[in-house]
Symmetry: D2
Subunit: 300 residues, 4 copies
């Protein structure tokens, strides 16, 4: 299988490395040059321009930052829909909105190609060691065809049906539940502080019992330590994610009241200058709203 | 140690059984008679009236349904504060509000006694086999004194400091985070359904990864199965619990926006006639609000 | 008609003055003595103790601060239910919760008496000049009987049916809509500030058009002027009111999402030390949450 | 002054009529042809294509449906920025988002032109009789220059400063406060119904007092009459408006909790099939959530 790969950020580079190591014939490209790292040593070739990535390839993989970037590389001049050729499969592995995914799927269908939405679960370091979860949805034959590729990339592929937006919705839902968990933790710790609760004890009660899961252990610990500058995922990126979720919900007429509460707190945190801190900083924002803490900044 | 025990509901009876089996000298009482089960065979004596439970006892344990019941058995005529004697310790193991706990603690302090708030984590069947978690807070000497008793009852005691309300706040916070988790799940599953997501796949993605914890496995499964008549904890009781949390938050000037979203959905579920179903029925209520489901009842 | 009057705060005293001036035989009482002002000169007598207010009277009017006070004067020893005599009517003019009103109505019914809930619309200075609106509900015969009294007190009586809680609900709903209006204004002004909108222009647009009403003119002006120390109604009292509304809604299974948003902001304002400022200070709290303003205090 | 006018929907046609009647040299155009009504009789000329509207004109007025339409007529090939000529002023009178307005303003600035954002307050019938309020913001010289035109169109122009987004924000804020008012009314009426309150009485209390303003009289009456098919503004359009507001708030890091509550109820109403009813149908949606009413549809 011949593979074109677009998007060599940290996650993209890690995934492309898995593809190269598995022996696939791989051509990579990134808008900003100089991001191939050791990929060429591991067997990949580099395309000079976007238009050279897909001709003659069976599969195009994209891991790009947002919907605008996806539309550009998929639908633009010299984009994937134009250059991949009939029968090709585009595997979109970024976190995108349902509207963009549907739009790109339509364009590929018109070009006799298929879109498989295949967002991933896990961070770049996990990706490099093959530990990613992958949620894949798209036409059954297309998913079947790229399965060897997905198997080479991650530890497990969750098959989410024939409609690419289904995979998108699952990925968004997963991040949504995580955001709601962090916000609930933030509120719980603020309530505790007002009643002289040692945060470490509350953490222990929660994570030894009903909430003995990574979401609560990782983010609860950051809140306990108030260690918001150890950034896994920024508040600003989290807001972007949640906005995608709210947009998907809005398009489908699904009210998400917990999501609204989460979004409002993310905005307040950003308004206080915490946009580039880890989104567990909701713990601090909730403390502020409870009169337990000073803001770090005034007029933003 | 001589122990008086008030409140033989399912949870109270299970705990009293642990106390009896551990060989403590135990007198039990329940407002509604005929609830001693096999406790007398296991060595307990039964008091005929409330006023006979505490005289001559070192410790009184209560496991009663709500704050009114607690005030009555602790502060009323022939109540614990009046009959336990100086130096006695009242261990309140029910889920109560911070105001009631503070009020009862004051009354005991004035009578030369101590209150240890010691709410439990777990269900009655877990209690019977000694698997409860216990969150205990109160004067250090009092906690120290009742430690053998708590050790006999549960698997682990989380020590939450000298202020009884701290234990209360932890217990309320734990249930609060659980409620928020269920509501977030409910919203996530509704969003998924609108995008043709198989609920079982979403469940798998969530519970294999960030949310591999009992809260998500138990309640996620009920939502997937729409098995709301398998009742662990009713929506009406959940509302009662959350109202205690909101009241504690209000008294301490802590806004809880996720709690507000949760409370509003619980009310809507109750308005639809689902008050006696398991509170995972938030999944159905969220589906209704998303136009995915008919209500089960009209004018309540 | 012989009238007993309990509760001589600012509003009570103003109403009692209207009753005295209209020539009714009036006995007044207040828990804290020395509040009769010029009422005795205007023809009222003062009772020495609560138990002397109602014997031999046709009607008892109460204007007391909260539900606890109402229960005490109505249901306590020497209270109105005990001393008013069969056929008597208790007109409760304070702002109370639906549960307390129902409880007091029951007690009066058992004593062969009637409760008319008759909360008022307007402030004490308006009351003194007879400008109050009154919302009255209770058994038709009882309302009919006290009509001359209500006519003497206010400018208009809105008849709200036979169930006293109906009047309570209307009064609470009125304050609820006001609170929501203030919160919406607070949010709108914060949004405007971020886009360099002159608050005075936004005020003008709103109050010249769709919102040309006292609620928006009065509270909008306070927000424009940031004149939160000119206190009409404190944030803490507003919270108390909204808690009554939320409790009424909870008892009736009515979710109030706007009310939840309002309540959360009131709590945040109180957490920042603004509890004794006018509740238009929601404008400042919203500005804080938007990063436009420093808090006035830290740890409360 | 020579004027080009783009967008002849109901509102656009009414405004163009005012411009024609005031004697300005007017060329009109609408994407869908056949919408000139009697404008040609009143002195206007019709352009055959967009590119013919602006050449040689001093001012271009747009009244188009949404941001996409605005971008197309302003920024597209043959669009206003390209054809109006240096020194020209574009008066954008539709309700747009802050991002689109900023983008269009930039394009005009680069072409040596000015954008005046001038959204209107009022409905088409009000527009026809010259009763519109206009909120205008943009470079002072440009606003000054188009003042005679604005005077001919509306009853009053609120000047909102030099930044076009300020006018946008005011218009969005006005609609936002209206939406919040309707939602608050919806909640209040549902609460009342649960306590047997006659909606007409609650309406009277509200609109005779603190809320004696068009927003409450118009929408309160629709809720009282449950006359949701008398459509002034549809729920779907209201959602579109509120999404613009939420996006403006998000871009400026302003949390809008009342707006979130409103948005969630609009979505729920749309999910129930009420998207094309008047947005006062929030009254019905709130009744549904309170168990007072059946949904009108199931799976959407």
């Amino acid at each position: 299988m011949r593979v074109g790969f677009v998007g060599l950020g940290r996650m993209g580079a890690a995934i492309a490395g898995r593809v190269a190591d598995a022996g696939f014939d791989l051509t990579v490209w990134n808008r900003t040059p100089g991001r191939t790292g050791d990929l060429l040593d591991r067997g990949a070739q580099e395309a000079g321009v976007l238009g050279e990535v897909c001709p003659g390839r069976d599969v195009a993989i994209t891991m790009v930052a947002d919907d605008d970037a996806l539309r550009e590389v998929a639908l633009g001049p010299d984009g994937i829909a134009q250059t991949l050729g009939p029968g090709g499969v585009h595997v979109a592995m970024g976190t995108h909105g349902v509207t963009a995914i549907a739009q790109v799927a339509d364009a590929h269908a018109q070009a006799g190609q298929s879109l498989v939405a295949a967002p991933v679960l896990g961070r770049p370091d996990v990706a490099a060691s093959g530990g990613l979860g992958i949620v894949a949805a798209g036409p059954a034959a297309a998913v079947e065809r790229v399965r060897p590729l997905l198997d080479a990339i991650g530890r497990h592929t969750f098959e989410a049906g024939e409609r690419p937006e289904s995979a998108t919705a699952i990925k968004l839902a997963n991040n949504f539940v995580l955001g709601c968990a962090i916000e609930a933790l933030a509120e719980a710790f603020a309530l505790g502080r007002r009643y002289d609760v040692d945060p470490a004890i509350l953490y222990e009660v929660l994570t030894e019992g009903l909430f003995s899961a990574p979401a609560f252990k990782v983010y609860g610990q950051i809140i306990v330590d108030e260690d918001y500058d150890r950034v896994g995922f920024t508040t600003s990126l989290a807001l972007k994610d949640i906005e995608l979720t709210m947009a998907a919900a809005s398009a489908a007429a699904v009210p998400l009241p917990s999501g609204s509460a989460l979004r409002d707190r993310l905005l307040a945190a950003i308004a206080q200058g915490d946009g580039e801190r880890d989104w567990a900083v909701l713990g601090r924002e909730q403390a502020r709203a409870s009169g337990l803490e000073q803001p770090t900044s005034s007029k933003a």
